[in-house]
C-alpha cells in the first residue's frame, strides 16, 4: 500500500486562559520548537508545514496561515491549512501524515492552535441566518439537547457525566501542560456548580484555553535517524455527515461509527476494547465520554455509561480514556484534536511522564467537530505496523 509514517517529535505549550506574553505566531512557535527539539531537528530539516485551527472568525484573523509562514520556518516551502471545525487538530495531523505516507515528503511539521483569549467564540458561533432563530448561544446550547436525549435513551444514572469530569480533572493533575489543575475536585462540587445549558453544568464544560500543539511526522528512514522512540501510525480515518437530515442521530452519529470502523480496519483491529490499550477522546462536555464509548463500538449500544460508572475509563481501568485530563481540562479549540493525537503518540512512546500508563502498545486519538459532523481518528503503535 503506502509508506510507513511515525511521530518523532511532540511539542505542547502550557494551556492557560491567557497567554498575553506571546502573539499567535509566538504561541505556535513555542510548540513547534519543542516538537523540533524532541525530534532532534531544526526548521531547515522540515519539508512542509500543515497547520490547523478553528474558524477565522474566532480570533478575527483572516487566513492566519499566510502570516504564520515566517514564524514556522515555512518560507519557500509548502504550507497549507486544514479546516474541519473542532476536529481540525486531528484532521491536520492526518493530512500531514498522508504527505509522508504518500512518499511526497520525509519530514512534515504539523501545528494546531487556538488563542481563545483573543477570540470571541460565542459571537462567532451565534450567527443569525433567516432560516433558524438565534436561541442557544454557543456549543453548550447546541449539544445539551442531545445529551438529554442520550440520558433518556440509555437510562444512565444522573451522576455519569460528573464522574467523567472528576476523573479527567484528577488525571490533569499529572499533566503539567493541562490548563485546569483542581486538586480538590469532588462529585459534590461538580453537582453544586450552576447549570449553564441544562443538563450541562458549568463544571461539566471544557475551559477556554490558549495553546498550541505540534508534531513532526517522519518517513521510516527519517524515523530511523530520530533520537527518540517513534510512535508508528497504524491507521487514520476521517468521515463527515450533513448538518441536517431526517432521522439524523446526533447522539450516535453515523459518521462517527463509520470513522471508527475505518480506523480499526486500517489498523487491523477487530476487538478495539481489547486491542487498544488506551485512548484520548474528544470530550468537551462530560457526557460525551459515555456517548462516544458507544459510538466508537468500545461499549455495547446503551452501555457506554457503565464504563464510566465502573471506572473502566480510569487510569487503572481496562480502557483508560483521557489520561492527559482531556478537553475537559484544556481546550485550545483548534489544537484540542491534535493534543489527543499527540497524547496517544506519547503513550506509545513512553514519554507521557506522570500520566504515562505501563506497557502501552496501541493508543487511539479521536476528534470531532461542528455539530458532530466531522470525525477524525488515528491509531498509533509502539511497533511498526
Amino acid at each position: 500500500m503506502s509508506n510507513r509514517v511515525a511521530v518523532i517529535g511532540v511539542g505542547q505549550t502550557k494551556y492557560a486562559s491567557k497567554r498575553p506574553d506571546v502573539s499567535i505566531a509566538g504561541l505556535l512557535r513555542e510548540a513547534a520548537q519543542r516538537a523540533l527539539d524532541d525530534a532532534g531537528l531544526t526548521y531547515a530539516d522540515i519539508d512542509a508545514v500543515v497547520i490547523g485551527k478553528a474558524p477565522d472568525m474566532f480570533e478575527g484573523v483572516m487566513m492566519p496561515e499566510l502570516y504564520l509562514a515566517d514564524a514556522l520556518g515555512a518560507n519557500g516551502k509548502p504550507i497549507m491549512r486544514v479546516h474541519t471545525a473542532g476536529s481540525v487538530g486531528g484532521s491536520t495531523a492526518i493530512v500531514a501524515s498522508h504527505l509522508v505516507e504518500a512518499g511526497i515528503h520525509e519530514r512534515v511539521l504539523t501545528v494546531a492552535f487556538e488563542k481563545q483569549s483573543e477570540s470571541d467564540a460565542m459571537w462567532a458561533l451565534t450567527v443569525r441566518p433567516p432560516f433558524q432563530p438565534s436561541t442557544v448561544g454557543g456549543a453548550g446550547g447546541y449539544f445539551a439537547p442531545y445529551i438529554r436525549a442520550y440520558m433518556r435513551r440509555s437510562g444512565a444514572p444522573a451522576d455519569t457525566g460528573m464522574r467523567t469530569v472528576v476523573k479527567d480533572r484528577l488525571n490533569a493533575l499529572k499533566n503539567p501542560y493541562a490548563h485546569l489543575h483542581q486538586p480538590d475536585i469532588t462529585l459534590e462540587q461538580v453537582a453544586a456548580s450552576p447549570m449553564l445549558w441544562d443538563p450541562i453544568r458549568y463544571a461539566e464544560t471544557c475551559p477556554s484555553s490558549d495553546g498550541a500543539c505540534a508534531m513532526v511526522l517522519a518517513s521510516e528512514s527519517a524515523a530511523a535517524k530520530a533520537p527518540g522512540k517513534p510512535a508508528w501510525v497504524h491507521g487514520t480515518a476521517m468521515r463527515s455527515e450533513p448538518t441536517m437530515f431526517a432521522g439524523r442521530d446526533q447522539v450516535n452519529p453515523q459518521a462517527g461509527q463509520d470513522c471508527a470502523r475505518d480506523v480499526y480496519k486500517a489498523a487491523g483491529i477487530t476487538n478495539p476494547r481489547k486491542e487498544i490499550d488506551c485512548a484520548e477522546i474528544y470530550v468537551p462536555f462530560s457526557w460525551f465520554e459515555a456517548m462516544w464509548m458507544e459510538n466508537l463500538g468500545i461499549a455495547p449500544l446503551g452501555e457506554g455509561w457503565k464504563m464510566v460508572q465502573e471506572g473502566a475509563t480510569g487510569m487503572d481501568g481496562d480502557f483508560p480514556v483521557n489520561m492527559s485530563g482531556g478537553v475537559l481540562s484544556s481546550n485550545p479549540i483548534g489544537a484540542s484534536g491534535m493534543i489527543r493525537y499527540a497524547e496517544a503518540a506519547m503513550q506509545v512512546r513512553g514519554t507521557a511522564g506522570e500520566h504515562q500508563l505501563d506497557g502501552v502498545r496501541k493508543a487511539m486519538g479521536h476528534a470531532y467537530g461542528g455539530g458532530s459532523q466531522f470525525f477524525s481518528m488515528w491509531i498509533v503503535g509502539s511497533e511498526k505496523p
Binding site: M122, W123, T126, F131, P133, D198, G247
Partner: protein, 162 residues
Amino acid sequence: MTDAYGVVSRPVRLDYTFTAGKALSRFLTIIEGGKIIGQRCPKCAKVYVPARGSCPTCGVATAEAVEVKDRGIVTTFCIVNIPFPGMAVKPPFAAASVLLDGADIAIFHLLQEVPVENVRMGLRVEAVWKPASEMEMSMESIAYFKPTGEPDAPYDSYKDLL
C-alpha cells in the same frame, strides 16, 4: 499586567447579504405570511422544513411543496441559564427541537408560556406568530412556541427524530 504586552481590543462588525436560493426563498416568502412550507423528497418521501431544494440523504432535487402544521412535538430541549449576545429573551428559557406535524425533521426554536421546570420531551406545542406588522422573511416570524394542552406524544413516535 496585560498592558505591558500591548494587548488591544479591536471590534469587528460583519453585515451579510444572504442569497436564499429558490427553495428557501419560497419558504421565507411564505413564512412571512404565517405559513410553513416544506418539500418532499421524491425518493425517500421525507418532508424537509425548511427545504433547501435537495434531499441531503438521497442527493436529489426536491420540488413538491408540502405545507406543514405550525404545531408539533418537543423531541428534546435544553434550558438556557446564561445570557449570550443577541439573545431574544431573558434566561432562564427553554430552547427545543420541535418536530412539526407533517415534517420529518425537527426545527429548533424558543419555548415560552411554560415554566422551564415543566418543559419535557414529548410536550405538544404550537407556534405563536408575531403581529402582522412584525412578520418578516425569517424563522423569527414565529415569536416562540407554547404548549397546546394536548396529551404528550408517546416517546416511540419521536425518539428517532431529534
